[in-house]
Structures are given as structure tokens and as C-alpha cells.
């Protein structure tokens, strides 16, 4: 079953084209890794999926329902945009936890405001999610009392609390000290299941290779190469892909 279909997305800021004719699809339960150098458009693509940016062309279909079509985008009300973006969850590079709320409150805030259940149901579910990311003991802690890795795990629990169809990660470990990336990647890996569809923009090639079902390599706003990890990492077809993989290998 196809969970997500992205058709001919195009995005430009003035004359600068950031995304050129991006199309791909994703099966339910799949993990998609998007790789590529900085400025290749990966993050912009995620932001388009989450309605933080509005593409000039193209459409987005989730579970067979068109939730965005550039042709009629201007007719969308704020209300509709809010409803449609709930198909997606987004975990930011810089966590963006709410500093004035503790771990539990960060996770329960949105479900409470959106009235997604009774207070008790929301609390129980939040506690379960916090346990899932391994932070049950820090449930009363405020973000400033947590390490970067712990903060990112809370951010993941916060995104999961709204049951998104597709969970997006925007370079989830880039802002972390190297010794903290492992715990976050482990949590993401642990989320992989039949039901959860994920898109991960990442620089962690090992992670992409071993966790992803599908890999997209982006360069200069286009999808340069797309396929299974074996295809993209093991047998890249394009010169740009080879050069990029070579370069990221050298970094180690």
C-alpha cells in the first residue's frame, strides 16, 4: 500500500530554484533515507511536506488523499492546513522543545490543545511514549536539564504523540556531540515497524545503509539517484553520487 506520493514538487525562492520536479513514492512501513550535501534541497523537501514551505508546483498524496495541490493551494484555509499537516510529524535538527514545559508537558501539550482524548488518556499515552524513548526517569525534568540526545528523544516522543502517518526527521543527530548520536539513532531504529512510515534526512551513511528501505540521493534540487541501499551505496550509477559517497567515506 502506498503511504505517500510526491508528484512534481517545485520550489523556488525568487529566481533560485531549490527543488526541481521532485517525485517519489513510499510504501507504508518503509523507511526512506534522504542523503546529499548541504544545500541540495533535502531539508526544504521535508519542510514542504510539513507545510512549513509552500511549493510553487506539484502535489502531495497521503493514503490516496490529495492533501496538497499547488494549483489550488491558495484556497486552503489555515484550518485545513493544520488538519493536513497532522498526517506528518517532524523532528527538528535543533530539537525545538518548549523550554518552559517539562518532558511530560512537552509531549502532552499538543494532544491536550487538540483535544485528542481525556486528560488521563493523553497522560498515559505520553508516559508510554516517554518510556519508549527511554526517559521515564526524567519525566519531570525541564529541557535545560537534559543532554542534547535526551532532548532529541523527547522531541521524538512529542512527534509520536499525534500518531502521524509519516514521521520526518531533519538531520536529527547533526546538532549532537558524536557520543550522543548513537542513543538517538537507536531510538529511531527501534521505531521501525510495519505501521510506521519514516523519512530521515541524514548525514549518517551507516544508519541510512542499514536502517533504510529506500535511499534518495539529492544534489542541486533534483533527485540524482533513488533505490535500495544496496543499489545506491553498493552500485551507484551517477558520477555525482559516487563523488559524494567517496567524500563522505573520506571524512571517517
Amino acid at each position: 500500500m502506498i503511504a505517500l506520493e510526491v508528484r512534481n514538487i517545485q520550489k523556488n525562492y525568487g529566481k533560485t530554484e531549490v527543488l526541481k520536479d521532485i517525485s517519489f513514492s513510499l510504501e507504508k512501513g518503509q523507511v526512506l533515507a534522504i542523503i546529499g550535501s548541504s544545500g541540495s534541497g533535502k531539508t526544504t523537501l521535508l519542510r514542504c511536506l510539513n507545510f512549513l514551505e509552500t511549493p510553487q508546483e506539484g502535489s502531495i498524496v497521503v493514503n490516496g488523499k490529495t492533501i496538497f495541490d499547488a494549483a489550488s493551494a491558495s484556497q486552503l484555509t489555515d484550518e485545513q492546513i493544520r488538519e493536513n499537516r497532522l498526517h506528518f510529524g517532524l523532528v527538528f535538527q535543533s530539537f525545538n522543545l518548549f523550554p518552559q514545559y517539562n518532558v511530560l508537558q512537552n509531549v502532552t501539550l499538543a494532544p491536550t490543545l487538540l483535544k485528542l482524548g481525556t486528560a488521563q488518556e493523553i497522560q498515559e499515552k505520553a508516559k508510554k511514549l516517554i518510556a519508549q524513548v527511554g526517559l521515564s526517569e526524567r519525566i519531570q525534568a525541564y529541557p535545560c536539564q537534559l543532554s542534547g540526545g535526551q532532548q532529541q528523544r523527547v522531541a521524538i516522543a512529542r512527534a509520536l504523540a499525534l500518531n502521524p502517518d509519516i514521521l520526518c526527521f531533519d538531520e536529527p543527530t547533526s546538532a549532537l556531540d558524536p557520543e550522543l548520536t548513537g542513543e538517538v539513532l537507536k531510538v529511531i531504529k527501534g521505531l521501525k515497524s510495519k505501521d510506521s512510515t519514516m523519512i530521515v534526512v541524514t548525514h549518517e551513511m551507516e544508519f541510512a545503509r542499514h536502517v533504510a528501505d529506500k535511499v534518495i540521493f539529492m544534489a542541486d534540487g533534483i533527485i540524482e539517484e533513488m533505490g535500495t541501499p544496496e543499489q545506491v551505496f553498493g552500485n551507484p550509477q551517477k558520477e555525482k553520487t559516487k563523488a559524494f559517497l567517496q567524500k563522505s567515506l573520506e571524512e571517517f
Binding site: 525545538n96 518548549f98 501539550l109 490543545l113
Partner: protein, 242 residues
């Protein structure tokens, strides 16, 4: 009858200063009550997406912040009766009465309007700094969680903004306490007016400078209380970092 000894003068002076200080406090609290919310509205105007509105609001803020409050007080108090009323009477052909009235309540209302407007403009700029200082990521995090603009403002941005603006607001509010004395230009009888009356001569006491100096004790005490209050508030919000 002249009261010449300090012990004769003291109770009379304190009584008069107390009455003046009540007027000072009234103006202070009414100004805060009006200017705190109005400042927020103005700050939204100055951050509006609509260029025209933004331009108008910024021009008003520039005029109000850029010109002396004393002039604003005189314009707001005298303009309706002195200019607007004769003009309207000429146009309409019959008498109208739109002045503030000469009594204490008219003077107080005019002073309150001037102070609220003036301080709202100052507050609006502090608010704007506070709101724009909250990282954009906070707003985006709220957006991707499906929250509405007002939910994002009230549940996420507001408290972070408040924490950021406490020090500049404390400054401005303490200045407000002392600025209320400007209202005596339209003969609002606040505490400095009351103290000065004993220089000119009032209630059998004349040529005395100490009552005027003594008003400073009232200001100091009240600002002391405010300082403690702000320190307490700052400490209350110390549990998180922005």
C-alpha cells in the same frame, strides 16, 4: 495662621502628600492596566504582514516615542476644547461640548489617555523585541504539531517573551512611576504638586522645601516594592532557560 514649627507642619504635609500620592498611584495603575494590553496590540501592528498597517503603526510609535510626553499631555488635554470644539461648532452651527471638563476627573482621564498611549508605544517595542527574540523554531514546532496561531502565541511564545522582557519592562515601569509627575502640567494634583504647594504657600505653610524633597521617600519606597516584585517574578521564571 502660620504653622512654623516642624512638628506643627509634619502632619499637615503628610496628609497632603498622601492625597497626592493616591493620585500618583491611581495614574500609575490605570496606565499599566491600559498600556500593557494596548502595547501588545500595537506590537502586533508593527509586525503585521500588511505593509500599509505596519507603516502607519511604526509612524505613530515614532511620533509618540519621539516627542515629549509633556507636550502630548497638553495636546490631549487642551486640543478638544481649544481647537476641535470651535471647529465643530463652526461646521455644525450649534454648541457642542467635547472637552475633558475642568474638574479633577477630566484632568485625570486626559492624563490617563496620554500616559496609556505613550507607554503602550514604549511597551510595544519591548514586546516586539521579546517576540522576535523567541527562536523561529519554537513557532515551527508548534505549527507542525497542528496548533493554531493563537495557541502558539499564548501557550508557547508568550511566557518565553515575558521572561525575556522582564528586565527592560522593569526599567520602563519604574520610569513610569516617576513620569506620573509630568501630569501636573495639566494641573493633575499628584504628589509633587502637593509637595510644591508648600513652597508657594498652602494651608499655613509657605517657603518650605522639605515637603518637596520628602516626596522622594514615597517614590523610593514604592519603587523598592516594585523592584522586589520584579526580582520575585524573575526568580519564578528561573526554572527554564530561553
Amino acid at each position: 495662621m502660620e504653622l512654623t514649627t516642624f512638628s506643627q507642619q509634619f502632619p499637615v504635609v503628610i496628609q497632603a502628600l498622601n492625597v497626592g500620592f493616591v493620585q500618583t498611584l491611581k495614574l500609575f495603575f490605570v496606565t499599566l492596566l491600559g498600556a500593557l494590553p494596548l502595547g501588545l496590540v500595537i506590537s502586533f501592528g508593527s509586525m503585521s504582514r500588511f505593509r500599509g498597517l505596519r507603516g502607519v503603526v511604526k509612524t505613530i510609535v515614532w511620533i509618540v516615542r519621539g516627542s515629549p510626553l509633556m507636550i502630548q499631555l497638553m495636546i490631549i488635554y487642551y486640543f478638544p476644547g481649544l481647537v476641535l470644539q470651535p471647529f465643530l461648532e463652526q461646521v455644525l452651527g450649534y454648541s457642542v461640548n467635547i472637552g475633558w471638563g475642568g474638574g479633577e476627573s477630566g484632568r485625570f482621564t486626559a492624563a490617563a489617555v496620554a500616559f496609556i498611549f505613550n507607554y503602550a508605544c514604549y511597551f510595544s517595542e519591548i514586546y516586539r523585541g521579546g517576540i522576535q527574540g523567541v527562536p523561529i523554531g519554537q513557532q515551527e514546532a508548534g505549527q507542525v504539531l497542528g496548533l493554531s496561531k493563537s495557541q502558539i502565541f499564548f501557550k508557547i511564545t508568550l511566557l518565553q517573551m515575558v521572561k525575556r522582557i522582564i528586565p527592560p519592562m522593569a526599567n520602563e515601569i519604574i520610569t513610569l512611576v516617576k513620569d506620573t509627575s509630568l501630569a501636573r502640567i495639566i494641573a493633575l494634583q499628584e504628589i509633587i504638586w502637593a509637595g510644591q504647594a508648600f513652597m508657594k504657600g498652602s494651608q499655613g505653610i509657605s517657603g518650605q522645601l522639605w515637603p518637596l524633597f520628602f516626596t522622594a521617600v514615597y517614590y523610593l519606597a514604592f519603587n523598592g516594592i516594585l523592584t522586589v516584585l520584579f526580582a520575585w517574578l524573575e526568580q519564578k521564571l528561573d526554572y527554564f532557560k530561553v
